[in-house]
């Protein structure tokens, strides 16, 4: 009888060892996850940065504008349509002044004020945390998100839309939303128009004001920025 007891203990011991390895052998013989671990060999940082850039501008639109929903949808569709050729975003800390005739092939996040001179082309979207002065005959192939005042000079073309936290000053001949899926202008403050020309879709929380000359209504802060001479 003691021998039987020993055998039982031995069988239990062996059984536990077999049980321990059983699952491993099973997975090895009939693998459900044989590997290798998936790595997307084609992934790039730039692609993800671009996606993040889109989400950043959308988030800021939601956060800063009371009229953002409609604009957001317009901006979203427009950016998705054009972003395939644009894959870099640059973030600028401080004020930025863009010289005449420059072509900017990036999405830009400016954490200061932005002033562009004449005939500048922005191929990417703009997100400016300070004040913005867009020079005459500039072309913006995407949208502008601005958290303070925005001035659009003569004959500026914006393909998609504009979402602005502060007042917007629009001069003669400005066209917004000329892209296939273009939108309009939304502001959480007042929108000032030098005259009522142009097919503009506008929504403003504090109303739309048509003035004879913008010089009379432009804020002092914005005037200071405009008056700074280019180096």
């Amino acid at each position: 009888m003691p021998i039987l007891g020993y055998l039982e203990v031995l069988a239990l011991f062996v059984g536990m060892i077999v049980l321990c390895f059983f699952w491993g052998v099973w997975e090895y013989k009939k693998p459900k996850d044989p590997g290798p671990l998936f790595i997307d060999l084609d992934r790039t940082i730039k692609k993800r940065m671009r996606e993040r850039e889109c989400s950043v501008s959308k988030a800021s639109v939601c956060e800063h504008s009371a009229h953002s929903r409609q604009t957001l949808m317009l901006a979203e569709s427009g950016e998705q349509a054009q972003n395939s050729s644009l894959n870099e975003t640059i973030r600028v800390r401080g004020d930025l002044r863009i010289p005449k005739g420059e072509v900017i092939p990036y999405n830009m996040i400016v954490e200061g004020n932005l002033v562009s001179q004449e005939d500048v082309t922005f191929q990417g979207g703009l997100h400016v945390k300070g004040r913005v002065v867009i020079g005459a005959r500039n072309r913006l192939e995407k949208s502008i998100v601005c958290q303070k005042e925005l001035l659009l000079s003569e004959d500026v073309i914006v393909y998609n839309c504009i979402d602005c936290e502060g007042p917007v000053f629009i001069k003669n001949g400005v066209r917004v939303g000329v892209g296939v899926e273009g939108g309009g202008i939304a502001s959480a403050s007042t929108i000032y128009l030098e005259n009522a020309e142009g097919p503009l879709k506008i929504r403003s929380k504090e109303g739309i004001c048509i003035v004879g000359a913008l010089k009379e209504v432009i804020t002092e802060d914005l005037k200071q920025i405009i008056e700074v001479k280019a180096p």
Binding site: E27, Y28, P31, D33, P34, G35, I39, L41, R43
Partner: protein, 425 residues
């Protein structure tokens, strides 16, 4: 690259596809043909003639003496400050270089290390075990060391360093079998840090037989033990390392001597079981405790692997953990033997040392792009459903996309036949 015709095309192609500015002043690929005897030199030359950012370096007559020597040659012709190293059998994703150079923004970072993932894990039992072991070593061990500001190790490949530092310390030490560990300690003892970037994943070809594993492990163990002998006291006395960095540094240096302690612990355990505790054992309870701990406590590595597989969402692979015990047994034996080899390294014959230096993974099959063939082979041979895996896929998904049209057509036909049979059934 030493006789790497089967994989050379694969890695060079990856560097051509790399998502990094191909401006020659910022990006140069130095392909070192280390005395190859096959078609590697012509492959390298072909790429160098096609792409201005690829330089081909041929070591003629003096090649094949090991990686450190080849790297020192490359170091002489490299013109940029940040130098990254990849072995020939590696397949980096397109963003790998951007991820690896990013930590150098920190002026304290002297080296960087990415994550290595075996591409051929389904190939054999050993390669599967290597796959899960690597996961634990990188995902948990290296990451924890980096997060806790300890000593993450520069692993010699999928990693890089500042050229100026390496020049200052005299390049790679060609007498060391683990030039990567040597460089790690040189960096830390000179006040630099090594950054670990888990997201900089890169495929490698792991060993697939016990013979190859033994050779690889012997080389690593001897190299580590060489560093242990050289840097043990330097690490303890270092004025620049913190207390915990010193503790971690010593543990890292001893990582390949621990199996010897386990072995001794097992021997003592068996001895005391058979003979009863000898009278002198009471004199050394602390030592017995250490050995007993080593016999059991080192199972922590299993927990490390399980944790990493959990994070990778490959929970089914956790079932393989008990089988890692076989690898532990191999480690104990090979590393214990390697410890004594390291002590008497200077007494080894030159050809024995050279054998240790060169790993010479025997790559079966023909064709120039072996990785693609391996993965396509698995796709055809395995009958389980890949889409049922936790991460719903693996490397195969990528390679399925680049499979030939004939393969794709056959696959479609098979699927259609199966569907029809199912309908009829």
């Amino acid at each position: 690259m030493h006789t790497e015709e089967k994989v050379a095309t694969g890695i060079l192609e990856r560097f051509v596809e790399m998502d990094y500015p191909k401006d020659v002043s910022r990006y140069e690929v130095i392909a070192i043909d280390d005395g190859s005897t096959d078609a590697t030199p012509s492959i390298v030359d072909e790429y160098a003639s096609k792409f201005s950012f690829i330089k081909a370096i041929h070591r003629v007559g003096n090649g094949g003496n090991g990686k450190p020597e080849a790297l020192n040659v490359g170091l002489k012709v490299a013109s940029n400050e940040i130098i990254l190293i990849f072995d020939a059998d590696y397949l980096p994703p397109r963003d790998c270089i951007e991820r690896l150079v990013a930590p150098f923004v920190d002026v304290e970072v002297g080296g960087v290390m990415g994550r290595v993932v075996p591409v051929n894990s389904p190939e054999s039992f050993v390669s599967r075990i290597m796959d899960i072991e690597r996961a634990g070593g990188y995902q948990i061990s290296q990451q924890a060391r980096y997060n806790l500001n300890l000593i993450p190790q520069f692993g010699g490949t999928v990693g890089g360093f500042r050229r100026s530092i390496l020049k200052a310390v005299g390049g790679f030490d060609v007498t060391k079998l683990a030039e990567d560990t040597d460089l790690t300690y040189k960096l830390y003892l000179n006040g630099w840090k090594v950054a670990y970037v888990n997201a900089a994943e890169c495929y490698e070809e792991a060993v697939r037989s016990w013979e190859m594993r033994e050779k690889q492990l012997t080389r690593w163990a001897i190299g580590h033990d060489q560093c242990l002998f050289e840097y043990f006291f330097k690490t303890l006395k270092s004025p620049v390392l913190t207390f915990w960095q010193k503790v971690d540094g010593i543990l890292l240096l001893g990582v390949y001597t621990t199996p010897l302690l386990i072995f001794i612990g097992w021997l003592i355990g068996i001895f005391t079981y058979l003979t009863g505790a000898p009278w002198w054992s009471s004199l050394f309870p602390a030592i017995l405790f250490v050995f007993a701990y080593n016999s059991i406590g080192n199972f922590a590595v299993f927990a490390e692997v399980a944790g990493s597989l959990f994070l990778d969402k490959r929970r089914r692979s956790i079932w393989l953990l008990p089988l890692m015990f076989l690898d532990l047994l191999a480690n104990v034996w090979v590393c214990s033997r390697a410890f004594f080899k390291a002590i008497f390294l200077h007494k080894l014959r030159p050809n024995q040392v050279k054998t240790l230096f060169s790993e010479n993974i025997q790559r079966e099959g023909d064709g120039k792009n072996r990785h693609t063939k391996i993965l396509n082979g698995f796709r055809n041979n395995y009958t389980h459903r890949w889409d049922k895996t936790e991460r719903s896929g693996n490397g195969l998904r990528y390679y399925t996309e680049v499979a030939t049209e004939v393969d794709a057509a056959n696959h479609m036909k098979e699927a259609e036949i199966k569907r029809n049979n199912k309908k009829r059934g």
